[in-house]
Symmetry: C2
Subunit: 327 residues, 2 copies
């Protein structure tokens, strides 16, 4: 059944009513603009992320609840990387006229479930008919105590480089999907998605980012959305420093082929946090229940290096984004 | 020449550096999220609007500077309708790989010119490659003194209904373009666009909205983006009232055919302000240099009526959005 814009707006409005988030939304869906309260002593964080069919997902590979989950997760992950608390989201959604309502229902249900988990209120957006597949753009708004946001620009020579969780799984899954479609992930639909939940249902590291900000430990932070080499490159460029990464230290999922180093170095969409902290201050091995691994250190200069298991140092160019630019 | 995402980001970053807006943007493009200051006593306004090729514009009809201008104008108009001051904008832009750089340059130049005019800083966004034409989503952030935003929900029986400027030109231009393409607007490209500037380069009524809010005069407000009948319908629905509109009073551009009443009633994208104010308080004929016309009054009930030149009353259904839904 075709879905009109009006029906979509009614649906979003009804579904979005439940959680009131952290109470910052005074006027949400149903006016020309949303009105957000801003408590004294806080600053507002804002990030926008596209989720475009054929670019960021494919309907034949990604079930609608994965597309909805990932759509919001991308924005939440950016707020996490700033050390902020997400408060509100805005969804712009353009849909083909012949899209089944059940697809939209599942997309919205997953998006709103993740929103509820993080106490985020869906407070507005836009809808349109699309002539070219499902097009979503998510805005996530957050808050952070004034002057305390974790930026990319604070890394200093001598800092240690850390990453949460594991890297490379998402790019590996994509490579399997490209080669053999969904069948490459196993016979049963349900176990395909749960076995590879970090790709289909990534968990934004909001609690880790908040902990780092509260402890005043991180000098710089970013989320690994474009790939370790590219995202570390952003920290180096904004901080005016270089980096040295130890190949053997990079946490990779078990079960991946030996070629998984490539995915871990240059694959994107793992939505882990990459951050730096003074080398003199040891970190716990887990933060907010998430494993944290030291993978190298910040050095002088502007270059990035990879040290292999034989102690050999070779250049580490930022290749994540370019490599997967067609994704 | 093809435009890579990196080149686009560099371009946006360079071009966006100029105006610092009202100083609310602490950290803009170049981090995971923008950091916005929020002065005490203010609330944050936020609106998002798609500009999709084939839906909101056509590249063969709309020159790139019109597309860029209209993209931002849509968001500014929403902030105007809330009585707010726009402060920052975020542009998500997905472009076909084969799009000429000159198109993007002109799009960005026009968007940034309008941003500068309204002291708005471009503070972030997202970029992607599009497999389906030019896709833009604009976020405009604004501010308003706490509790003072003009909402859709405050209209009361006995209020007068006002509209700024003139209605119907934009839909009329679109109908000409549909019938005869650009040639229908005249032989010379330059005069085509300037003669029909309200369609190609609409001026958001920010100063009018602010004046209304400062004077405490408007009980409800909305911008005419979907058409008078639909947008007045939104005010009636949110306020729980009905409306009576006098056909002869609706301000229409001179030179339009007699059928222009249809465009004025149901055509969208004029980006004028539609607002209500107590009938007992007369308004000036111009606000911030813009003509203001009383077109009817708010009544009890939930129905909308049109009174024709013979004094006959007939139902006025909200037909703007449905009618132009394929636009």
């Amino acid at each position: 059944m075709p879905l009109t814009e009006k029906a979509l707006i009614r649906r979003i409005r009804r579904q979005a009513k439940a959680p009131r988030g952290r109470g910052v939304v005074r006027t949400g869906i149903g006016d020309d603009a949303a009105v957000l309260e801003c408590p004294a002593g806080f600053e507002v964080l804002l990030t926008t992320d596209f989720s475009l069919e054929g670019v960021h997902f494919r309907r034949e590979w990604h079930p609608p609840d994965s597309v909805g989950h990932r759509c919001l997760a991308r924005g939440l992950s950016d707020i996490a990387a700033m050390g902020g608390e997400p408060t509100a989201a805005f969804l712009s959604l353009a849909l083909p006229a012949d899209l089944a309502q059940i697809w939209v229902d599942r997309f919205m249900t997953a998006l709103l479930r993740l929103a509820k988990q993080f106490e985020v209120q869906l407070a507005g957006g836009d809808t349109a008919e699309s002539t070219a597949g499902v097009l979503a753009d998510i805005v996530v708004v957050g808050r952070v105590p004034a002057g305390k946001a974790l930026l990319r620009s604070g890394a200093r020579s001598g800092d240690s480089i850390y990453v949460t969780g594991e890297l490379g799984r998402s790019a590996w899954i994509l490579s399997l999907l490209r080669e053999g479609g969904l069948a490459a992930l196993g016979a049963k639909a349900k176990s395909r998605y749960t076995a590879h939940a970090p790709h289909f249902y990534p968990q934004p590291r909001v609690a880790v980012g908040r902990w780092l900000r509260e402890q005043g430990l991180a000098t710089a932070a970013i989320d690994v959305s474009d790939g370790l080499s590219t995202d570390l490159g952003h920290i180096c460029a904004e901080s005016g420093v270089g980096a040295l990464v130890r190949e053997a230290a990079i946490p990779r999922p078990s079960g991946l082929p030996t070629s998984s180093l490539h995915y871990a170095l240059h694959g994107g969409e793992d939505y882990e946090l990459l951050f730096t902290a003074p080398g003199s201050r040891p970190l716990p091995s887990k933060i907010a229940g998430v494993r944290v691994t030291r993978i190298g250190e910040i050095i002088r200069g502007r270059d990035m290096w990879l040290v292999d298991s034989h102690g050999q140092r070779k250049p580490l160019p930022p290749r994540g984004w370019e490599h997967f630019s067609g994704r």
